[in-house]
C-alpha cells in the first residue's frame, strides 16, 4: 500500500530521530586517506571528516563535531548516504545537497554546509596527499546560524 504524504513525513522524522539517537559513523579513522575540517569562523563550531579511499571508492567515512544536534544528525545522514560510492558519485551527491541547502531553513543551512565543507576539505586533503602535501585542509562556511548578535549586526 502506498504511503500518504503525512506517513512519509512521519517516517522521515522517525529516521531523523534515529540518527539523533544513534549517529552513524561518529569517530575517527586512524589511517585515513584524507582528513578535512568544515568550520564556522564566527563561533568555532566545526566538523572534522575522515575518509578512507580505495580505488577511488569511499570505503569508510567518520566524523567528529563541535556543534549542535542538527549538525551531528546531518553528518550521520550524509556519511551514510555516500559511504560505498565512487568519489565522482559522492561529489555529485554533494552538489545536490548544496543546492538543496540553498532553500533549507536558515537555522539548518549552516549546519548542513559545515558537514559538506568538511567532506570537500577531506577530498582536497586526499588529492594533496597524493603529491606529498600533508597539510590540513579547512573550509569555512558562507552562511551562519541566525543569532541575536548577527541580527543586530545586520
Amino acid at each position: 500500500m502506498e504511503q500518504t504524504k503525512e506517513q512519509k513525513r512521519e517516517a522521515l522524522k522517525d529516521e531523523y530521530i534515529d540518527h539523533m539517537m544513534n549517529p552513524r559513523n561518529y569517530g575517527v579513522i586512524e589511517n585515513y586517506s584524507g582528513k578535512g575540517v568544515g568550520n564556522n569562523p564566527n563561533n568555532n563550531e566545526m566538523v572534522e571528516m575522515y575518509i578512507s579511499v580505495e580505488k577511488e571508492v569511499l570505503m569508510n567515512l567518520k566524523y567528529q563535531a563541535i556543534g549542535c544536534t542538527t549538525t551531528v544528525a546531518g553528518a550521520s545522514i550524509f556519511t551514510d548516504m555516500i559511504c560505498g560510492e565512487t568519489l565522482e558519485e559522492a561529489v555529485s551527491v554533494t552538489k545536490q545537497v548544496l543546492k538543496k541547502l540553498e532553500t533549507a531553513p536558515e537555522e539548518d543551512r549552516a549546519c548542513g554546509e559545515m558537514v559538506v565543507m568538511s567532506f570537500l576539505a577531506s577530498l582536497k586533503n586526499y588529492e594533496n596527499r597524493k603529491t606529498g602535501d600533508e597539510k590540513e585542509c579547512k573550509m569555512n562556511i558562507v552562511n551562519d546560524c541566525p543569532t541575536e548578535e548577527l541580527e543586530d549586526a545586520k
Binding site: 530521530i17 539517537m21 561518529y26 569517530g27 572534522e48 567528529q64 563535531a65 563541535i66 544536534t69
Partner: protein, 272 residues
C-alpha cells in the same frame, strides 16, 4: 594500558547512569543512579592518579549500545560489565577500594535479578509522547531538540569541569568546578529522565579532545558564560512555547539556575 582503564571506567559509568535513566521503577532508578555516582567518583580517582603519575589520558569511548529490552536484561548486562572490567584493574589500594564497591553493586544487582519482577524498558521506543501531556507536534519537536541539545551539553560540562579540576591547584577554582559538576549532573539527570519518558533516551557522543584540552581558561569561561546565556534564552523560549504549566515551570526553574552558573563562572574568572 592506564588510559584503557580510564576509558573502561568512563564507559561503565555511562552504562550504569543511562541504565538507571531507562528504568521506570523509581526505587530501582535511584539505586542504580547512586551506583553510577560512585562509579563517577572512581573515574575521578583514576583520573587524579593518572595526573599524579603524569600519564596522558582522554575521554575517548566506544559508541555504546545501551538499549536493553527489560530490567533483567539490563541488570545482567551491568553485572557482566562490572565483572569484565576487573581484568584491567591493577593490584593497588586504589583498585582494591574500587573492587570492594563494585562487589557490592554486583551482589545488589544479582539480588534484583532474583527478587524483582521483570519490567519492559520503553526508554528507547521512539514514541515521542510525554506521559499525561497533550503536546502538539511542534511542541514535541521543540522539546525533543532542546532535550537532545542540552543533554549533550550537560555531559560535556561534567567532563570538562572534571578534567579542569584534575589539573588545578587553586582551591577556590576547584570548589567552583565541583559545584558546576554537581549542577550539571542534576540537569543531565532531569533531561535524561524526560528523554526516557518520551522513549528517545540515548548516550551522548564522544567529546573532541580540543573541547577539554584547552590552554586558555579565561577564554573557556568567557565562552561558557555566553553559552549559559544562550541556554537561558532557550529555556525561556521553550517555557513559552510548551504552554504547559508543569513543564513551563520546570524550564523557568532551569533558566534561573543558569543565572547561578553564570555567577559561579564569573567568580571563577577572578581566580584565573
Amino acid at each position: 594500558m592506564q588510559n584503557k582503564i580510564f576509558q573502561i571506567k568512563h564507559e561503565l559509568w555511562l552504562e550504569m547512569l543511562f541504565g538507571s535513566f531507562s528504568i521506570k521503577d523509581e526505587k530501582l532508578y535511584h539505586k542504580l543512579y547512586d551506583f553510577s555516582s560512585i562509579l563517577f567518583r572512581h573515574l575521578e580517582w583514576i583520573g587524579r592518579d593518572l595526573v599524579e603519575k603524569k600519564i596522558v589520558f582522554n575521554y575517548d569511548k566506544n559508541n555504546l549500545n545501551i538499549e536493553t529490552k527489560d530490567n533483567h536484561e539490563l541488570f545482567a548486562k551491568l553485572i557482566k560489565l562490572l565483572k569484565d572490567s576487573r581484568k584491567y584493574y591493577e593490584n593497588t589500594p586504589l583498585f582494591q577500594r574500587i573492587i570492594n564497591d563494585e562487589e557490592f553493586f554486583i551482589s545488589e544487582l544479582t539480588q534484583y535479578l532474583a527478587t524483582h519482577p521483570n519490567e519492559p524498558i520503553t526508554a528507547y521506543d521512539k514514541r515521542r509522547e510525554y506521559p499525561n501531556k497533550n503536546l502538539s507536534q511542534p511542541q514535541k519537536d521543540a522539546l525533543t531538540l532542546f532535550l537532545f541539545e542540552e543533554n549533550y551539553k550537560e555531559y560535556e560540562l561534567i567532563l570538562v569541569y572534571t578534567y579542569s579540576n584534575l589539573f588545578t591547584d587553586n582551591k577556590n577554582l576547584s570548589n567552583i568546578f565541583k559545584i558546576l559538576v554537581d549542577e550539571s549532573q542534576f540537569h543531565l539527570k532531569s533531561f535524561s529522565r524526560m528523554l526516557s519518558l518520551m522513549g528517545i533516551l540515548s548516550t551522548p557522543r564522544t567529546l573532541m579532545k580540543q573541547i577539554y584540552r584547552f590552554g586558555d581558561m579565561k577564554q573557556f569561561l568567557l565562552d561558557g558564560i555566553k553559552e549559559e546565556e544562550a541556554a537561558k534564552e532557550e529555556c525561556l523560549r521553550l517555557a513559552r512555547e510548551i504552554e504547559d504549566e508543569e513543564l513551563s515551570s520546570f524550564f523557568s526553574f532551569i533558566n534561573f539556575q543558569e543565572n547561578y552558573h553564570i555567577d559561579l563562572m564569573q567568580e571563577a574568572l577572578k581566580e584565573v
